[in-house]
């Protein structure tokens, strides 16, 4: 080590005093020679050998030869690239797109699949899940398939969690948590926030510290303890202005005072990738905060998710056995009916190193598709560059031959050429980084399928390492073969020859043609894929939703978290409805549980007298609780009967409106209007379970545009017992909807300051959001397809232009011998067309084989959709045809006299 430091210090000194070093070397050797001559006379100089060579040798020892060579190479490369700006521009842009896109995808993959949670020893963490038949009545959480393909669920009853905490010795900590939306009033403004309810050992068990203040401790997680919260860094930044004094402040969560005791580490975005909670609250506060779903003491309601930290030296099997020993009796106490069909209820583990596996699972599909697309684009860009470099290598044969003949080593020249490639790739990658943030946003939306997700994907060192590696691999991929080829020069003819002469290029053209065919094939594949996604989007956009989506403003209000319940809550909503309806420009207002085409849905069993399904079960219907004038406001045509009014309240008979599908499926032979259907438990019927049908309306899309419209019943929300929860208001306007947005906010604030208006958007935006995934797929794959086609065209143009230049002589002779211009043009064009045809012949079957893999992402078309394939083929042929036609025309303009004189 010391030796290295001494070495560097000495070399640095030598380097910084370059002239002094030269003089010293000179003097030292001169002294030696002088001594020799003095003592032994003439002749000693000859014995000494080549002074200059020794000096070179010594100089090399003192200076950083490799670094200096690299620097020289870089400067030379930069000069060469500046000399051919068109080539450089195409190269850098195509690399920037290719590397940038790959970097963006990588950082998303890294954030949600590869990266470990920023916690202590994340590899010890296990997500505790269950499989088999759930023995409990309720489950709030997620279901997914784990890696083994088994259906797993995530949540456990709180009493069971408490029992497990102290009885699994293999876990040093077993953390419990659940997500909940809350309303926060901080200062004068209130807003909705994502809360994570956590057990007292959550932070200490994970090993996450507070950036400011402290984290939640077991002491906070007790009934009767003072209510505290830890906020995320993101929330601290967005809502508390990064004020250090925020710690110690009191905010109101669902109307209850809670003291902020700390800010979590900036890197910690929660344990669900993409989730990013705003605040963490002790799980003991759950009921106090008036949670709508979670009941702490109910052993029949599963809602707590668990993650355990396995003690070193214990095995998964031991821990699972301990869990199972407690879970089995709990399961026996619950209902066992489902176990018979779905197998025994038992615990399973999933690796917790990257957090909850949820997003990872849902993101795999889109990421695979996008990842393949961007790798293909990069591959095409590489092929293109390799091609351009081959052509350049040919035109630089003379330069290279000269350098070889004056003694440059082949290795040295290859290094020089590769330096050029590296420089290109480096600049391309640097520029590509500029594409990453916008692409990241798009891709993040895509994997979150509309739902806002926060991923820790940003330009960190891992991403930069990836980019650097990508650039390097890319440079080798496109630079190595041309460099090897270019330096394999037969000197004599190359030196004799004037410019880019004929000798020895036949094989080069062969390689180029092969590359072009490959590019055309890959581009056709991408274009066909793009066609499929564009057609899917078009199909989805042209779906008639069954209601008038234009001029409809939507916004959400939830008064239930600000102390409103039951009739007080409906009273608040009715007041808002009336006041908003009075805003100038508003034609009519209604409200519903959730927006149409929002992906949310609710369904239930229903008994229809006189209707028997084949399996003897009660039929299923989708339901939606809505306000008065729902059909009129949404523009759903009434086929028979009347719309809801404000008189359909608690004191009036319960009424419902069914859609056509409901009427057709369950009242095949009669008019449903005036008939009744029944909800609830058939064994213990209650009077309020009876709902009288007052109208039949036309079918309207419910949660997704692409789904078949299910049997649906609309109910008056005013008739809901113990009504609770938030509603979406639907406002039909005469003006562009967003024009009244601020008036709406003022109106609601004037009625109740503590109830915020959230998610103001138009119904059309809502639909666009719902189509977000498809839209982005079509956009991304489409753009990449076009870029790829363009690159292929450039490649084709390059090869043909070079070929024409090379054959100018031959063409001149042909024309002198009487060949017509049309003939020559066709001769050249034919060559391009051959390459295109070969590319298509390879590309289309490949596309047919591969597009089958994206079947699930398509709507209304088959993966072998003829239109998409024909369009891709034609587009590719036209673009490539144009690229081939330009050199062909140039060939036809060759002046035979001049061409022949050229030689």
């Amino acid at each position: 080590m010391r030796e290295i430091l001494t070495n560097l210090r000495l070399r640095w000194r030598a380097l910084s005093k370059r002239q002094e070093l030269e003089r010293d070397l000179e003097d030292e050797l001169a002294f030696h020679l002088a001594m020799g001559e003095e003592k032994k006379g003439e002749g000693s100089r000859r014995a000494f050998g080549n002074v200059e060579l020794i000096k070179d040798d010594l100089r090399d020892q003192w200076t950083f030869r490799t670094v200096e060579n690299l620097w020289r190479d870089l400067r030379y490369a930069a000069r060469m690239l500046r000399n051919s700006p068109a080539f450089t521009l195409v190269a850098i842009l195509s690399l920037a797109i290719g590397i940038g896109a790959n970097t963006a995808i990588f950082s998303v993959v890294d954030a949600i699949v590869l990266k470990s949670l920023p916690v202590r020893d994340p590899e010890q963490l296990r997500v505790v899940l269950w499989t088999g038949g759930l023995p409990f009545g309720g489950h709030s959480g997620y279901h997914t398939r784990n890696r083994a393909g088994i259906q797993v669920g995530s949540s456990f009853p709180y009493p069971l969690y408490q029992q497990l905490v102290s009885s699994v010795p293999q876990f040093s900590d077993l953390m419990g948590f659940a997500s909940n939306q809350v309303t926060v009033l901080a200062g004068a403004a209130s807003h909705y926030a994502e809360a994570q309810l956590v057990s007292g050992n959550f932070f200490s068990g994970l090993g996450v510290n507070a950036l400011a203040g402290r984290t939640i401790s077991p002491h906070d997680d007790r009934q009767g303890a003072q209510a505290v919260a830890v906020v995320s860094y993101r929330y601290w930044e967005r809502h508390l202005g990064l004020e250090p004094e925020a710690v110690g402040h009191t905010i109101f969560v669902n109307g209850h005072p809670v003291t902020i005791v700390g800010v979590a580490q900036q890197a910690f975005l929660g344990i669900k990738p993409g989730g990013a909670p705003d605040l963490y609250l002790p799980i003991a506060l759950t009921e106090q905060l008036g949670s709508r779903w979670y009941r702490m003491h109910d052993s029949d309601d599963a809602w707590v998710q668990m993650m355990g930290r396995l003690r070193p030296g214990t095995s998964d099997q031991q821990a699972l056995a301990s869990l199972d020993a407690i879970m089995r009796p709990a399961a026996a106490a619950g209902s066992r009916e489902r176990e018979r069909t779905e197998g025994p209820w038992r615990p399973v583990f999933e690796d917790g190193v990257g957090g909850l596996p949820l997003l990872r699972d849902q993101a795999t599909g889109p990421i695979l598709i996008l990842g393949s697309v961007v790798s293909l684009v990069l591959l095409i860009a590489c092929a293109n560059l390799a091609n351009l470099l081959l052509a350049r290598g040919a035109s630089r044969r003379r330069e290279i031959a000269v350098r070889l003949s004056i003694g440059a080593g082949r290795g040295r020249l290859i290094r020089q050429l590769l330096t050029e490639s590296l420089l290109l790739a480096g600049v391309g990658a640097a520029l590509g980084l500029a594409f990453v943030p916008p692409l990241l946003k798009v891709v993040a939306n895509l994997v979150g399928s509309g739902e806002t997700i926060v991923i820790a994907a940003r330009l960190d060192w891992r991403t930069l390492m990836f980019t650097a590696a990508a650039a390097m691999v890319t440079a080798l991929l496109f630079g190595l073969a041309p460099a090897l080829r270019a330096t394999r020069v037969d000197l004599t003819p190359a030196l004799k020859d004037g410019g880019g002469g004929a000798g020895g290029s036949g094989r080069r053209l062969h390689t180029s043609r092969f590359l072009v065919v490959g590019q055309v094939a890959l581009s056709t594949l991408l274009l066909a894929g793009a066609g499929l996604f564009v057609r899917t989007l078009m199909n989805l956009s042209s779906i008639d939703p069954g209601f008038e989506a234009q001029r409809l403003l939507l916004f959400n209000v939830d008064g239930s978290r600000s102390g409103y319940h039951g009739e007080k809550l409906t009273g608040l909503y009715e007041r808002i409805r009336e006041k908003v309806a009075a805003i100038p420009g508003v034609q009519s207002v209604t409200l519903s549980d959730f927006a149409l085409i929002s992906g949310s849905m609710s369904n239930t069993d229903v008994a229809v007298p006189g209707y028997l399904s084949k399996d003897g079960r009660r039929p299923m219907t989708y339901e939606m609780r809505v306000g008065s004038r729902f059909l009129a406001t949404m523009g759903i045509p009434v086929l028979a009967g009347r719309d809801f009014t404000e008189r359909d309240g608690m004191s009036a008979p319960r009424v419902g409106i069914v859609n056509e599908t409901f009427a057709r499926d369950y009242f095949a032979h009669g008019n449903p209007v005036g008939q009744s259907v029944y909800f609830g438990d058939p064994k213990t019927p209650r009077p309020e379970d009876r709902v009288q049908i007052i109208a039949v309306c036309k079918d309207a899309k419910y949660d997704h545009l692409q789904d078949k419209i299910p049997p649906t019943i609309y109910l008056s929300y005013l008739q809901t017992r113990e009504f609770n929860g938030g509603m979406t208001f639907d406002v039909r306007t005469a003006l562009p909807p967003m024009a009244i947005a601020s008036a709406v906010e003022r109106t609601v604030a004037a009625i109740e300051r503590n109830v915020p208006v959230a998610e103001m958007r138009t119904q059309e935006e809502q639909i666009r959001m719902a189509l977000g995934g498809e839209r982005m797929f079509a956009g991304l794959v489409g753009s990449f397809g076009l870029i790829a086609a363009l690159l292929a065209a450039i490649g084709l143009y390059g090869v043909m232009a070079y070929s024409v230049a090379r054959r100018t002589n031959e063409i001149g002779i042909r024309m002198a011998m009487g060949a017509g211009r049309g003939h020559v043009q066709w001769m050249v064009l034919r060559e391009s067309l051959w390459m295109v045809a070969a590319g298509l012949t390879l590309g289309i079957p490949a596309a047919l084989a591969l597009t089958r893999l994206v079947r699930e992402a398509l709507y209304g078309i088959q993966p072998n959709d003829p239109l998409s394939f024909v369009a891709a083929g034609v587009l590719m042929a036209v673009v490539a045809g144009v690229a081939g036609w330009i050199p062909a025309r140039r060939a036809a303009r060759v002046d035979p006299m001049r061409a022949l004189r050229c030689e």
Binding site: E3, N7, R11, D24, D27, N50, D57, Q61
Partner: protein
Amino acid sequence: MGENKERTTGVLQGTLDMLVLKALARGPLHGYDVVEHILAWSGDVLKVEEGALYPALHRLELRGLLGSEWGVSTNNRRAKFYRLTPAGRKQLAAEASEWARLSSAVARVMEA
């Protein structure tokens, strides 16, 4: 580089460093005297090529085994004098004992 190897025996690459260190063990010398010393002490057998000497001197200097300074030679010329650093002294001791072990082993083999 090395063109003439007639008169004297060349010096093995590995042993050159050791010989240079040894030559400098008694005190600072310039390059020419290093050659002279080695030649004299070896009874005019070991002639170090200048083409090998100077690279070796600079290599040892860069490794921190030798220090150097410019001074004036006996005939009033500007000359670069090399001297052993403590690290160089340690290195010499190590190489000397290794050499003794090796050469006596070789000698034993040849006498057997």
